[in-house]
């Protein structure tokens, strides 16, 4: 089967590419658009390392076909910082040492940002449930949760 032409928007930039029908959005982001911040942990929607926001919804990019990006607006970890200025979530993750190996971190950050846009003042329980689809094998989660809570506080005060 021939590749299909896809036009999409990623982090406010328009992209056009030719897509294998079976390729996932994660494959396209990493291999076609060279946006390698989104990670492949499981490729089955369990680990959240490939989390992106598509038309306002948090999704696993491994569970979306590349051809489904047609006409959509995608936000990835690469769009999170404002130039050299880190997003408050990114800075809090550094301050709290909320990452070790870093593989899960882009997905956690994208998911946490989506939560705070929907709910700027979440309880710890709400943060833990929202991030239940983002697996981290290093930190034991506690520092991640504290970093998200403190980023939320900082963003509310801003």
């Amino acid at each position: 089967m021939a590749k299909q032409h896809v036009t999409t928007t990623v982090n406010n930039d328009e992209f056009e590419f030719l897509c294998e029908p079976k390729a996932s959005m994660l494959d396209v982001l990493r291999d076609e658009l060279n946006l390698t911040g989104s990670k492949e942990g499981c490729a089955t929607g369990d680990c959240g390392a490939c989390s992106v926001v598509m038309d306002g919804r948090l999704v696993c990019s491994c569970l979306v076909l590349g051809v489904e990006m047609e006409g959509k607006s995608i936000e990835t970890i690469e769009g999170m910082a404002d130039g050299e200025k880190l997003h408050p979530l990114q800075q809090q993750f550094l301050d709290h040492a909320a990452l070790q190996c870093g593989i899960c971190t882009p997905g956690v950050l994208v998911a946490a940002k989506a939560l705070l846009e929907k709910n700027p003042d979440p309880t710890e329980t709400e943060v833990r449930y929202w991030l239940a689809g983002n697996l981290c094998r290093c930190t034991g989660y506690d520092k991640i949760i504290r970093a998200v809570m403190d980023a939320a506080k900082e963003m509310r005060a801003a």
Partner: protein, 285 residues
């Protein structure tokens, strides 16, 4: 593999009717994408039905809701009117997967994936939900419990599409609930799932009930014998004992890594009692 994303139902039906080889329908993709990755499915054509407007709509007419087949868990969870009328259906759909999966997984997809442990199916069965199906010969209505026929198998033909799921209007004193047992608190597959919908009269006596049971047979089951134990009662302890016994009697589970036959059969009764109480409290208001 050919990928098509038709904008109309007619175009989707034409693609399916004209397909050579295996055609599969793509809704939220949270099951098919995994199967593609694992090489357990290799369709010749995927027909993405998410751009078809009839499949996206949620409508209400005199208390009867019709929910488009590609409505996601996240979308349904934001619909206050559906949540108020069918909280059990919404909680069943919202239990599926993570926040990320909720952004994609659809009500029609969970039904048609036909997992014996699907979370929304027992709730749909309890709600007396009707599936609106279209095919080359027109449309037909299928009760939710008649869609799955076995693990991953449905009664639908390859050229048929589930357009929407309809829920009957019902009285003010009505409630439904869905509970499942999993060994953790989130992100797991049901070991047992129970959906119960019931109506009560002014005195709080149950007048109508339906019970759906998941993860204890080759498909989700409608259990009329269990519903019968509730009717005419106020869900007193004696009725709850009979409910649990009827539920356990309906179980025909397998042993697997998530639970033994004995465990599932026993826990199903416990979950049914808890689910019935929640549905009852919602009905009484």
């Amino acid at each position: 593999m050919q990928y098509e994303a038709p904008q109309t139902l007619d175009a989707a039906l034409s693609l399916l009717a004209g397909a050579t080889g295996q055609a599969r329908i793509l809704a939220g993709g949270t099951d098919i994408m995994v199967q593609l990755h694992m090489d357990t499915t290799d369709p010749d054509m995927l027909v993405d039905i998410k751009n078809i407007s009839e499949l996206r709509a949620i409508t209400e007419t005199d208390g009867a809701f019709t929910i488009g087949a590609v409505t996601t868990g996240a979308e349904l969870g934001e619909n206050e009117a559906v949540k108020k009328m069918w909280p059990g259906v919404v909680e069943g759909l919202e239990l599926i997967g993570s926040t990320q999966v909720q952004g994609r997984a659809t009500i029609g997809g969970n039904l048609c994936n036909a997992s014996p442990a699907a979370d929304v199916i027992p709730a749909l069965i309890a709600a007396n939900a009707i599936t609106n199906v279209v095919g080359p010969n027109g449309s037909r209505e299928v009760a939710a419990e008649d869609i799955p026929v076995g693990p991953g198998k449905t009664s639908l033909a390859q050229d048929e599409i589930v357009v929407s799921i309809s829920f009957p209007a019902r009285g003010a004193r009505a409630g439904d609930a869905y509970l499942r047992f999993i060994p953790r608190t989130e992100m797991d597959i049901a070991v047992v799932g129970v959906g119960i919908s019931l109506e009560v009269d002014e005195a709080g006596v149950c007048t109508q009930a339906r019970v759906g049971l998941g993860a204890v047979a080759e498909k989700a089951l409608l259990v009329p014998e269990a519903a019968a134990t509730l009717i005419g009662t106020s869900l007193d302890d004696a009725a709850m004992e009979k409910l649990a016994a009827a539920i356990s009697a309906a179980c025909r589970p397998i042993n697997d890594r998530r639970g033994t036959i004995e465990f599932r059969t026993d826990v199903a009764g416990v979950m049914a009692r808890r689910t019935a109480k929640i549905a009852y409290d919602r009905a009484v208001g």
